[in-house]
């Protein structure tokens, strides 16, 4: 795989993370309109989504480290 392909793959990962983060942001904006009884599950799902983005970003870091070792 060429460098440009690796960079494109990395950028695609970042783009997905930004999209997911947008969803988290939108979800946090709807907290004030959430019923009291649903707040626990709302926070739970925010935490799960955040864990997921964090894990995606850690994988992107792994890819950068591979790129650095391969071409640096």
């Amino acid at each position: 795989m060429a460098l440009t392909d690796d960079i494109e793959e990395f950028k695609a990962k970042i783009s997905r993370i930004v999209d997911n983060l947008e969803e988290i942001s939108a979800s946090s904006s709807s907290i004030p309109d959430t019923d009291q009884k649903d707040l626990s599950s709302k926070f739970r799902s925010l935490e799960d989504e955040l864990d997921e983005v964090s894990s995606q970003l850690n994988k992107a870091i792994d890819l950068l480290e591979e790129i650095r070792a391969k071409y640096g």
Binding site: L3, T4, I7, F10, K11, I14, S15, I17, V18, L21, I24, S25, S28, S29, I31, P32, L39, S40, S41, F43, R44, L46, E47, D48, L50, D51, V53, S54, L57, N58, A60, I61, L64, E65, I67, R68, Y71, G72
Partner: protein
């Protein structure tokens, strides 16, 4: 600070990683074959640093979410990262697949299996918490104490035998200490040398979904943790380790107990966390 202020702050800090990630995208676009080796290396290193900064931002957001839940009385119910634990699949099989078919259960068998299942779950959590940092009952130390034919073979027992002094100390530390004549014990108490200095006391309870409603035990524990919090001017923390995900109703019931104890002892703060391994059989 009002609930709405905390939410506004949360919304603000969620925006923080966007700027960092935009910068990452922009810098990555500049990387191509024309970069010389040094420039390439330093640019990628810079990208890694920026990504790590964003990961750290995620950590802050997560802490704020947990703080809001603690402060405003919502339960933090999370899945244990069991999927990353070596041999978890074997554990799960050991706990579930070796059991007889459910339609063949009678009440006695159900009770017996539930006890074994609870013991197994306790062994597993003991293993995850580590004897080095927690006071634990320590059943796992002696193989002959375990009579469950369903115990998974993946348990890693501590190599060194536990001394009588260590056993005595663990037993003493597991007792609820602030209540006179109480026979209630915790399943785990964080050792003082390993306790986060911002906490007064940290304890853990291991539960199956079915055994979650030991209300009197929870009440005594809540009293103890609230008193310890007031005494030291710091929050106490209890983490419930459920094998099967507790229902919202059960979580609320437990939270109510800690809320009542905290209100009774002015200034007390008790953090209650729930971790679970499996969604559970809802059939």
């Amino acid at each position: 600070m009002k609930f709405s202020d905390d939410i506004e702050y949360l919304k603000r800090i969620i925006r923080n990683p966007f700027k960092t990630l935009e910068e990452v995208d922009e810098i990555a676009s500049r990387l191509d074959d024309s970069c010389d080796a040094d420039e390439f290396y330093s640019t990628v290193t810079n990208l890694i640093d920026l990504c790590e900064e964003a990961v750290s931002n995620f950590g802050c957001i997560s802490s704020q979410i947990q703080e809001i839940q603690r402060k405003w009385g919502f339960a933090s119910v999370r899945r244990l990262p069991v999927k990353t634990i070596t041999d978890w699949d074997k554990w799960q099989r050991g706990l579930q697949d070796k059991l007889p078919r459910k339609e063949n259960y009678n009440q006695d068998l159900k009770t017996l299996l539930n006890t074994w299942k609870g013991d197994n779950w306790g062994f597993f959590v003991e293993q995850q918490l580590f004897f080095e940092t927690w006071h634990l009952e320590g059943k796992m130390w002696t193989k002959e104490d375990i009579d469950s034919p369903y115990l998974p073979s993946v348990i890693t027992r501590p190599k060194d035998p536990r001394t009588q002094d260590e056993k005595n100390l663990d037993q003493q530390m597991l007792r609820v200490t602030n209540i006179e004549h109480s026979k209630v014990e915790y399943d785990a108490v964080r050792k003082k040398d390993h306790l986060n200095p911002s906490l007064a006391k940290e304890v853990a309870e291991f539960k199956l979904r079915e055994t979650s409603t030991r209300i009197n035990q929870a009440k005594t524990q809540a009293e103890d943790l609230a008193r310890e919090s007031v005494k030291q001017g710091k929050p106490s923390r209890i983490t419930y380790y459920f094998y099967e995900q507790p229902s919202d109703k059960k979580v609320e019931k437990i939270l109510e107990i800690y809320k009542t104890a905290s209100e009774k002892h002015s200034g007390a703060r008790v953090e209650v966390k729930f971790l679970f391994a499996e969604d559970g059989d809802r059939k």
